[in-house]
């Protein structure tokens, strides 16, 4: 039995219980009183929950989470732990990026608010512009015009909420216009979406999710309209579509509890889909597109499309559908989530080029919307993504490659292709002649996560669910007769189809 070693009374005998219960009792009181007294700015609190416990909740077991949510949602203490503490402690410990709660109660990723050094700003502008220019040239060679849309950060749209003094730091403010000017100077067609979105936000409309950095459906539609007007002018298309909605099937608007994206909520460490997380999500407008009109049914290569959109997760909120509607013409969409902005254009170039061997549609334009924070990272320097994408314009095409016979360790050959038995299959190359270029060509049909293909120190992202074979090209430092290709897969059981290994010099 945990008998105390001493039964003697000390000053703490009374003080400790008093302090303990003072802490427990004072916290809910402070939660109520401090905001009323104006001690805590209202912007430092978020998502107070209503007391909406019903008899049904009492019976079906929801009363506990609801009371807990009520406390957590209203609590200054919880705010302190969720945001303030997150900002200070976790940034210090490297456990999560800092999240700043703005005066509008919304969440901002702290490192996107920071001022940048002047020289750093110029370097980042140049780096991003170099990449965009290269991509533009490649599309130009194929006969399509690259059109770039710059998507501003939330902080740029509402600096009055994001920054203590309501002002964006000078270099930070000049960054996006700097990219725009640099691209224009290089002859790249570019549209800065900031004016359109700022104009809409200034009217009190919500254009970005409260708990997420992505634009919402409304912001997506505003941007699509601005982009459509611009494309129509640039491409000399016909007059704008003035109909409020298409004459055929229309999209349906509804509200749903919770943002469809949760990246910032995740930073606050709530387990995804947990009752706690759900309590912190707000009602959001959702738009359902009828079958056949969603981006998943708008893949590149359809007949009759005038353009294609290569877009990151921003494409999930109806951007392609809205653009098609506003433009009054069919467009295709390649939407790649979670891989940054550079990946979709690379994939478009490597797999679904505007002029492909199957004689698919020639596009007039390729629209590439790029969020500001991807540009801040130099587009190709991706802190957030684990591997480089196959870079289709990193050098001259590999020529005179010779297919070689190979065996794959950790995978078995079946009539339908190779099936991996481990997470690290290997292909050992042992050739009579020296080679310094290796190309692995294959497609995969595994409905799973991407993997890695590695040769020596070079790593390429292994793409899954590719309809046509993808080439993974490697250049060795010096000619050799022996090399090993390593595949790193999240799990076994990947199907590798039409696998070819080619070497050359």
């Amino acid at each position: 039995m945990p008998t105390p070693p001493s039964t003697a009374k000390t000053a703490w005998t009374r003080a400790l219980p008093c302090l303990f219960f003072l802490f427990l009792c004072a916290t809910p009181l402070l939660d109520s009183l401090l905001p009323k007294a104006g001690v805590i700015p209202s912007g430092r609190r978020y998502n107070p929950q209503e007391w909406n416990v019903t008899l049904q909740d009492v019976w079906n077991g929801d009363v506990g989470p609801k009371i807990e949510g009520y406390f957590q949602g209203r609590s200054f203490l919880v705010h302190e732990t969720g945001a303030f503490y997150n900002e200070r402690m976790f940034a210090l410990l490297g456990r999560a990026r800092g999240v700043h709660v703005g005066r509008d109660h919304w969440l901002y990723v702290e490192d996107r608010l920071l001022e940048v050094e002047a020289c750093q700003k110029e370097a980042r502008i140049t780096e991003s512009a170099d990449t965009v220019e290269t991509v533009a040239q490649r599309f130009q060679e194929s006969g399509a015009t690259l059109m770039v849309c710059l998507i501003p950060d939330r902080a740029r749209l509402s600096p009055q909420f994001a920054y203590p003094d309501g002002q964006i730091p000078p270099n930070r403010k000049a960054f996006l216009p700097g990219v725009e000017a640099e691209l224009k100077k290089r002859g790249v067609r570019v549209l800065n979406l900031s004016p359109a979105l700022i104009d809409e936000a200034s009217r009190g409309k919500q254009v970005i999710y409260a708990e997420d950095h992505h634009w919402n459906y409304h912001g997506s539609r505003v941007s699509a309209k601005a982009a459509a007007d611009w494309i129509r002018t640039e491409m000399a298309y016909g007059p704008p579509n003035t109909a409020a909605k298409p004459s055929g099937p229309v999209w349906e608007e509804r509200t749903e509890e919770g943002s469809p994206r949760r990246s910032l909520i995740s930073l606050l460490k709530f387990r995804k889909n947990s009752p706690l997380e759900r309590l912190f999500l707000r009602s959001q407008q959702i738009i359902d597109f009828p079958p056949g009109q969603g981006w998943q049914s708008m893949p590149p290569g359809r007949t009759g499309s005038c353009g294609v959109i290569a877009i990151s997760s921003y494409g999930r909120f109806g951007f392609a559908e809205f653009l098609q509607f506003e433009l009054g013409r069919q467009v295709d969409a390649l939407v790649e989530t979670g891989q940054g902005s550079f990946y979709p254009v690379c994939r478009l170039l490597s797999e679904d080029g505007p002029r492909d061997a199957l004689g698919r549609t020639e596009y007039d334009f390729v629209l590439w919307p790029i969020p500001e924070y991807h540009l801040m990272n130099g587009l190709r320097e991706k802190d957030e993504f684990t591997a480089d994408v196959p870079d289709p314009f990193s050098g001259p095409e590999i020529e005179q490659l010779t297919p070689v016979d190979f065996e794959m360790d950790g995978a078995r050959k079946t009539p339908a292709g190779w099936i991996t038995d481990t997470r690290a299959p290997e292909v050992e190359l042992d050739e009579p002649e020296e080679f310094d270029r290796v190309q692995l060509r294959m497609r995969t049909s595994s409905p799973s996560m991407n993997g890695l293909v590695s040769l020596e120190d070079e790593h390429l992202l292994l793409l899954v669910n590719t309809e046509t074979p993808v080439s993974y090209d490697f250049k060795l430092d010096k000619p050799t007769r022996h090399a090993t290709l390593h595949l790193r897969l999240p799990e076994s059981g990947y199907r590798l189809l039409d696998v070819e290994v080619l070497v050359g010099d």
Binding site: M1, P2, P4, P5, S6, T7, K9, T10, A11, W12, T13, R14, L16, P17, L19, F20, F21, F23, L24, C25, T27, P28, V58, W59, N60, G61, V63, G64, I67, E68, F71, Q72, S75, L77, V78, E80, T81, G82, Y85, N86, F90, L93, G94, R95, L268, K269, F270, R271, S274, P275, L276, T422, R423, E491, S492
Partner: protein, 470 residues
């Protein structure tokens, strides 16, 4: 309700405790019953009916045993009570498992499809194993001669007493029968209770919750390499200790605040030098329950070596099954049963080494004990036998020995601190409320740690106590 939830800390506990203080000693037991049912009903109100039913069976069983004078009638009353209690436990805890096992067997033997059964989807009521065992211990003790209580409120308070309701310690009626009649609250006991509660809270939040993600990740790998497997297993070894020990400390502390002295549940178990000693230090109230109500009635060690070993295996098999309806828990129980049997055989024989004769030998005994206990945690933590085998294979290098670089940012500073501090604590900790926290500075430091832990809690994902699932 979790002890580590805001609703408990900032609503339930202050309100309950203030009312408790305001009531006269005789009236407190009524408040305990009401408060405990609110505490339990916080999860699901309908489960309160189960708690009520189990309490009623135990209470009436006790009265029936007291009323029966003949041996046969007493046995019938005992049998009736135990059958009802075990039936409730079996239905809620084991019906699904038995159904799935039968279907698995039917598939294996390719039996006709109509022999398969529809497995019922039953939600496991939190803490059912604990309060059912308390009821069982009560009726058995009454059968053995303990005077039963005639006060329904005292009995219901005993079963439902919220500090120990959902995860123990398993308290026997005799331990707290006097205190139930008239719980006395003193400043000194409240202070000590708060100290022990805060220690437990910090163990859970600062140590167990920061170690958990690493263990979860390591066990989720299909092919854990050597270093990751051991790091994951070590994390889990410490996590389960600080999680469960933390909960027990909180329960003991809350009990002291209310005027109850609960038995100690952990006595630095990882410092044991034999597996038999481990079970005298780990989850003491459960192991003593199995000893007194199963092992000894089976014959204990009084019927020869072979029978003793069989008794150990049966007891630990059921202890494993008590923890969960799954083959992994059965495997864990049998592993410990086998270890106890081997230990018994070893200690009965002349031992040239591993006899604890000198400090170096004791160190070797301790290391060996910790090693086998840790191996046992592999099936205990794994989701299924396949995951168990993967982890065991990984522990012995079956999936290579990749470096810790694979961790790739999963281990943050708090994890390493928890690992090192936790590792040190299991060696130096003696009991809750130990000397360092009896000083003024110690208490102030502990209070700050507690406030920090409440802050930390707000940022952590929902982390229920591991032992709630049992």
């Amino acid at each position: 309700m979790l002890f580590t939830s805001y609703a408990f800390l900032f609503l339930f506990l202050p309100v309950f405790f203030l009312l408790y203080l305001a009531l006269p000693a005789k009236g407190r037991v009524y408040l305990i019953v009401i408060g405990s049912y609110i505490f339990y009903g916080f999860w699901r109100l309908d489960f309160c009916l189960l708690l009520l039913g189990v309490s009623l069976v135990g209470y009436l069983g006790g009265l029936g045993l007291a009323a029966a004078t003949e041996g046969r009638t007493r046995r019938a009353a005992l049998l009736c009570s135990l059958t009802l209690l075990l039936a409730a436990l079996s239905w809620f805890k084991y019906a699904g498992f038995l159904g799935e096992s039968w279907n698995g067997l039917a598939d294996l033997c390719r039996l006709p499809a109509d022999l398969r059964i529809d497995v019922p989807e039953i939600i496991l009521p939190v803490g059912i194993s604990f309060f059912t065992f308390q009821s069982i211990s009560y009726v058995v003790d009454v059968h053995r001669g303990m005077q039963p209580t005639r006060s329904w409120v005292e009995y219901f308070a005993y079963i439902a007493l919220f500090p120990q309701l959902v995860a123990g310690p398993i308290v026997r009626y005799g331990d707290i029968s006097t205190e139930l009649k008239s719980p006395v609250v003193s400043f000194r006991a409240v202070e000590q209770g708060i100290v022990i509660f805060m220690i437990g809270f910090c163990k859970k939040v600062w140590l167990a919750n920061n170690l958990g993600p690493m263990a979860d990740w390591a066990f989720s790998l299909q092919e854990p390499p050597l270093s990751i497997a051991w790091l994951g297993l070590l994390s889990y070894t410490l996590q389960i200790y600080f999680d469960f020990c933390g909960y027990s400390d909180m329960a003991i502390g809350l009990g002291l605040m209310l005027g109850f002295h609960f038995p100690e549940n952990f006595r630095a178990p990882y410092r044991s030098t034999s597996i038999a000693e481990f079970w005298q230090r780990w989850h003491v109230t459960m192991s003593s329950f199995f000893r007194d109500y199963l092992y000894i009635p089976l014959g204990g060690n009084r019927k020869g070596h072979l029978r003793t070993m069989a008794n150990l295996l049966v007891t630990m098999f059921l202890a494993g099954l008590w923890h969960g309806a799954g083959w992994t828990f059965i495997l864990w129980g049998l592993w410990h049963g086998a270890l106890l049997a081997v230990n018994r055989a070893w200690t009965a024989a002349p031992r040239p080494f591993l006899n604890g004769a000198n400090p170096l030998d004791r160190l070797a005994c301790g290391a060996l004990t910790l090693f086998v206990v840790m191996l046992g945690w592999a099936p205990f933590r794994a989701a299924d036998l396949q995951e168990t085998m993967a982890m065991l294979r990984g522990l012995f290098g079956g999936f290579g020995s990749d470096s810790l670089a694979l961790l790739d940012g999963r281990a943050n500073v708090l994890f390493w601190i928890a690992l090192l501090l936790g590792g040190a604590l299991v060696w130096v900790e003696r009991r809750p409320g130990n000397r360092i926290f009896q000083t003024g500075w110690g208490k102030l430091g502990l209070l700050l740690l507690f406030v920090g832990a409440v802050h930390e809690l707000g940022d952590q994902a929902y982390n229920p106590f591991l032992y709630f699932q049992f």
